[in-house]
Symmetry: D2
Subunit: 150 residues, 4 copies
């Protein structure tokens, strides 16, 4: 991992970088979102509120190269909350330099600081680059996901 890699909370002045990185991430899922969603998301991420999504940004030599969005939420199987890592993105230009791994570790540390011992995320079965990392730092569960969109 580069000495110059920094993981820190998202800040208001990161908006342009954040929009660029999240747009690139959403493209990976063939998704575009309306401006209203970008504004609402960024506003929530800046609240630094344990009941809202929080954001981390990764910089290398001061250049924003990755992001993570996570939410603490209730789980009924424990009295403590759990942490859901919803979005994780590292610029393909810096892949292999530990940015994704450092972002996951950053989220894990923030969860632990809030007394939250578990962290989970979902990924598409065929996300091979992502899974190559996840197999090293996490446990694959036997769970799959069903959904209903009304």
């Amino acid at each position: 991992m580069s000495e110059a890699l920094v993981i820190r909370p998202l800040r208001a002045e990161d908006e342009a970088d954040w929009r660029r990185l999240w747009t690139a991430y959403l493209q990976f899922y063939d998704t575009t979102l309306p401006e209203e969603v970008f504004q609402t998301a960024f506003s929530r991420l800046l609240e630094q509120n344990n009941r809202e999504f929080q954001g981390l940004i990764a910089t290398v030599d001061g250049v924003a190269v990755g992001l993570a969005h996570f939410l603490f939420h209730r789980t009924l199987w424990a009295t403590t909350d759990t942490c859901y890592l919803m979005d994780l993105f590292a610029d393909p230009n810096v892949r292999g330099q530990g940015v994704g791994r450092a972002l996951i570790e950053g989220v894990r540390q923030r969860a632990l600081a809030a007394d939250i011992p578990s962290l989970y995320w979902m990924t598409q079965e065929f996300n091979y680059p992502g899974r190559t990392l996840y197999d090293k730092v996490a446990e694959k569960t036997p769970f799959i996901v069903y959904e209903i969109n009304s």
Copy 2:
């Protein structure tokens, strides 16, 4: 579906039934939970609070035969929340009578009433009885789940 099947919110007087059903559900996952977790869970479920887990109970001819636990939570990809169905259980003695399907539909209706258009849940890849139902009422996504337990 039986005429006598009723899906309704969990109530304080359901505690004994709820403990029986949830214990049976947790056994399916080879899980036991401490008394503290049962108490905290039941207390939260009774709050009828859109930021906490909510519970539905299914009765047939007045006998409690199933339950569902769900949570509305933020999603960053939309301005509306999403609905996470965490626990779903139908007494094996009433399997095939539409209890599970009615519970999912009950959760879906409560999400819609809160302007929440999407509902999702996780299930183990080898939960064949569950998936037989889920394939009929929902979409299997390509998502799998990773976790870190510190």
Copy 3:
């Protein structure tokens, strides 16, 4: 398992039963096959030749209720051959009576009699009734199947 359940090699006089059972099996895969394929298949199955497909039929009280088609073939990782179970079918009317299990065991015994220690088959990920049985009598491998049809 019923006392009256018999597993035996396919015989020429089984043709009508075999056609009925294999047709039902193929329907499960939304498949119909031309008459030429039925004739060639039945002819090969009757050869009792270790280089061709072989067939077993299951009868309960003399009524044909299931079939298995298997092939011994080379594997390069061993000097012995392996056994591929291509088709396995039990009439849905007799499900739960051990017909599928007895057919698998019948194939396994015939492989062992030919000094073939391993038996494998493929099934669709969502074949829940089948997998319920297979999980009890076999090991699920991490292998999935790719194909090219020119």
Copy 4:
């Protein structure tokens, strides 16, 4: 793809290269095989017999960098045989240069020359480098594999 990439049938003088490449491939599966299996396998591969495994070797500028082992065998659902690609290996040092793809295409052409229209193989669900290629050149089927080893 390099101009200098050649796909050709395995020959007796390839034995040292073939042993090196197959050993490396088997290491990927944490497998070692006894000398007897190597000898039997190589002997069968040299037979150029449509009822035995056949082998292809890939060379770049005359250096052996990959291999494929395949078997034509009966399928009961058609009057023609099918082609099973059992082993496919490209030296990691030449990954990304089209060696694996050219070997698959070589097998496909040899199957077509024998009037065999279909080609299939199995791979571990978590073989991400392999699947990255397979997703481009083949169809992922919904089939998974069960086995019994007596």
